[in-house]
Amino acid sequence: MQDEHEHPDVLSVSRRGFLKGFGAGTAATSLLSPLSVREAEAAERGFVGPGAVPVVLTVNGRKQTIQAEPCVTLLDALRNRLDITGPKKVCDRGTCGACTVLVDDKPVYACSMLAIEAEGKHITTVEGLGTPEKLNSVQKAFVEHDAQQCGFCTSGFVTAATAFVRKHPNATIEQIRSGLGGNLCRCGTYAGMLLAVADAASGKGGRA
């Protein structure tokens, strides 16, 4: 993993020709950033992969480059490549919501999105919403109303609830139920969650 601060979006014709001459092998990678090699490969054959390619992800405000096959999901990239383990792997089929992250502020199942598809977007995980010392209003309310037991669904719920509260201040209970309709809990903490999200939506406890 490395921090990537800039990368050329388009390669000039001459550069592509240069690459063609050398092939996209080690000589080229030593001269150019891995990402430009990927761009060149895409331009040459239309496709990249199936092996690992550099993927640039902006997670919680930080831009990072990982090596990942195109088949790697955003969830697995976060958990296995970036050690961001707030989003959980539970159903792995876009049903339970434990993997929920925000992509450009919208809640998304990270298990159902390829990491490479999330390039150029702002990804926020539960870690990006607050810290144990500085909780956001939803997190604060989840603690207050004991809206977690084992806690394995909690990251996903907090993330979905934060997106919801930001978009629907002063939501009704019925709206809250719909807003959390894409997540599941096994311990059965919905009673606390409803109270928590209602609190947070009313603006109690500060910013979500």
Partner: protein, 322 residues
């Protein structure tokens, strides 16, 4: 999933050029909510995945010559929130929000909804689209509570999973597909879905080298509505849905009644629609409509209950549309 090559072309023409003539070698990726799952389940193992994310022309909703033109990459959330859609097509709003998960509304697309693969649990467990083992249909004799009650005489017993299909058919929509070189053709919604006869076919009328680009929904001022019956009150697949459209500026003649999740394709019932062309859509008409809609249903061993549900769904859809 099996590793694959990936491409995200910048133009539609380029994208069409990257597709081949057979199903399954290259899969098209829109929102990913169905495809990524299908890849993990290995019910498709393409060597290439083609992402449509950069194709700007496939995004958005616009008004054009008496129709609302919905780009195939428009998300379900965008569709449900669009003011023109809300004003003219409540059936589509209900169908989109009925998906029940903000996460799916965020990324799931209109095109993806129409092209998604069936949820038949034999199919998803690797027994093939037609769910046959040793030449026997597993679904016909097995666990078929969620399977078809109409058109179940062919080899396909699954039900179409599309949420928007029934509503779009009821509204008289047309799908537009782009093929090699970017050339486009129109497909009436009524012909978009089909029951495959072999494992090598798919459930839609697109060719392997075509991309669904947009959907034209004519603005005819039809009253329309949809009623969906789900087990859970949140995110769940419906047992049965019913979409209806009737009335309108041109007077009678344009009514349609379409059932969802009862056949390998959305199931139009012209006999029920006929009632809506002639009778006032009151409680009695709605009930009669429901009654007529289920005539000819041929349930499997476990799904006769769907007949009662379909009857109810049609009745309530009519009343919702009024």
């Amino acid at each position: 999933m099996k590793p694959f090559e990936y491409s995200a072309p910048k133009t539609l023409k380029e994208a069409c050029g990257l597709l081949g003539d057979t199903w399954g070698k290259t899969e098209i990726l829109a929102g990913g909510t169905d495809l990524v799952t299908s890849l993990k389940q290995r019910i498709t193992q393409p060597s290439r995945v083609l992402s449509l994310k950069h194709l700007k022309e496939l995004h958005g909703i616009r008004n054009s010559r008496g129709s609302l033109v919905i780009g195939a990459m428009t998300t379900l959330g965008e569709l449900a929130a669009h003011s023109d859609v809300r004003r003219h097509f409540p059936a589509l709003v209900t169908a989109a929000t009925g998906v029940g998960s903000p996460q799916l509304l965020s990324v799931g697309t209109v095109g993806g909804d129409l092209c998604q693969r069936p949820r038949c649990w034999y199919f998803r467990n690797g027994y093939g689209l037609l769910a046959q083992k040793d030449g026997v249909s597993l679904a016909r004799e097995g666990e078929n509570r969620y399977h078809a009650i109409f058109a179940a005489d062919g080899p396909a017993l699954f039900v179409s999973a599309s949420s928007l299909g029934p509503g779009l058919i009821a509204l008289g929509a047309e799908m537009v597909a782009a093929g090699p070189g970017g050339a486009t053709r129109s497909i009436p919604a009524t012909e978009f879905f089909r029951a495959p006869q072999s494992e090598n076919e798919r459930e839609i009328a697109l060719k392997p080298n075509e991309i669904l680009t947009e959907i034209n929904v004519p603005l005819k001022g039809l009253k329309n509505g949809i009623y969906e019956i789900r087990h859970r009150h949140g995110l769940d697949w419906p047992y049965v849905t019913a979409a209806v459209a009737f009335g309108g500026k041109e007077g009678s003649g344009g009514a349609r009644v379409v059932l969802g999740h009862v056949a390998p394709m959305p199931w139009s019932v012209p006999a029920a629609a006929k009632l809506l062309n002639t009778a006032r859509p009151d409680e009695a008409t709605a009930a009669r409509c429901g009654q007529v809609a289920v005539e000819g249903a041929r349930p499997l061993s476990q799904n006769a209950y769907k007949i009662q549900m379909a009857r109810t769904a049609v009745k309530r859809a009519v009343l919702a549309a009024v």
